[in-house]
Symmetry: C3
Subunit: 186 residues, 3 copies
């Protein structure tokens, strides 16, 4: 009798441990372990703004050049950037890091891009980097790219970054809002 009751208690404990593990797995799916929102600012070189430019066209299709974004929705333009990251949407706020890497415009019919880049931090608040890759169908209000890794404070991070175009001025300046949701934190 005693024994049976014990086995019952035991099994319950065991099942509980299992189901709690399962639960943590499920909640891990839906709730980020870390969330960060930043803005970054891209000023593309157009032949006249070398002092302010934070980005430059370095690859272009046969029909393009390096100081004007190409016809056909800039298809084929490859841009290298070193953009300031700010906490709010003001270009003139103190930058707390840099967004560095490349993007390419990759569709003839509409504006679409592919991004490979990093956020690099070296402040009292954040030290380390977050690495991103993914498609950016930039005419959509929001779009998701992958957080594929991180270093320092963001050691081994994985997750999703939701991009939103916060401003777009002519073909020289744009500002992206980046909502980073990490689902793997170490």
């Amino acid at each position: 009798m005693e024994a049976k009751r014990l086995i019952l208690a035991l099994s319950l404990l065991f099942l509980l441990s299992k189901s709690s593990a399962f639960h943590s797995r499920k909640s891990r799916v839906h709730k980020p372990c870390k969330r960060l929102v930043f803005y970054f600012h891209d000023i593309i070189y157009n032949g006249k703004n070398s002092k302010n430019a934070t980005a430059a066209i370095v690859g272009a299709p046969a029909w393009g050049n390096k100081t004007i974004l190409a016809n056909q929705n800039h298809f084929g333009d490859l841009v290298v950037f070193d953009d300031p990251i700010t906490l709010d949407n003001d270009l003139h706020s103190a930058p707390i890091g840099r967004a560095q890497g490349i993007y390419v415009y990759d569709k003839k019919e509409i504006f679409t891009a592919w991004l490979g880049f990093s956020f690099v931090f070296n402040s009292t608040e954040h030290k380390g980097s977050i690495n991103f890759a993914g498609a950016d169908p930039l005419m959509n209000k929001t779009r998701d790219v992958s957080v594929i890794g991180g270093t320092g404070d963001f050691f081994m991070a994985r997750g999703i970054a939701t991009l939103m175009t916060d401003a777009f001025e002519g073909e020289v300046y744009f500002r992206l809002r980046v909502d980073i949701q990490l689902y793997e934190c170490w």
Copy 2:
């Protein structure tokens, strides 16, 4: 006596839980949690096919140009692409998504490439993206690149994509078969 038997039962239960966890870890190694096979089609711009081209040379070495793939096994040619994805190997089948990103030919002695790209889906069947990166020694019958992340239906995915050249016509058209095996599904 009772107690001893109980402790034995308990220990067994405990070990079982451990070994089953171990087992699930092992099976996770060898069996994908999701598998998908697609084809994508790349038509490179050669100066004459602007209507049909899905890709363009946007970077080339000093000895190259933007309308002909360079000497030395195209070493240094960087291509931007927006290729239709189909379920079968027919270029004219209804595309179910787009393969978008870049590849570079990166070896002088033989054909080899490095790829950074995404599959972008927005159909009733699949919504979201799968992000890839890796080396493509394209003279090998099959070669593996990494699935480094995903969004939407492919949220947080990781895995392997096995590429196979399914057709290759001159230097203008190729078709890849992509066998995606995801080992991390959320």
Copy 3:
């Protein structure tokens, strides 16, 4: 009495299992499951060294060209490489693999780069590939990029690679020491 002692033993066992899981999680954070150290050697094409060059400028900003690294800390230069990997720091040692991919210089004020590349092995010692991405602030003594995936012997690998400039000769040759620490091994 017996029962109480048993429940105590049971609870201890249960807690132990929990804390050991916790511990293994923590130790997984700090101790790599695999560690590898390699060197790779980059000889950039300068118009005269086509026989020895392992890398070439294929994208450049408006103010640059394809045979000399650009002004402003090479900002905007995009390089494709196929560099030999060696076990020691001797360029002439037998290569045990190739480092293949791209890097871009991405800052006007100092030397900084962004890397997307793979280590490709096909020897008796290692078969498969390791894929990397991340920022390389190359004036720092060491800097970390992410291991974003792997294939073959490095199936599904994730981790950190610590880069160190081991030699730098003019603007033609550099050698990197790469200390790969994998924290996810399958």
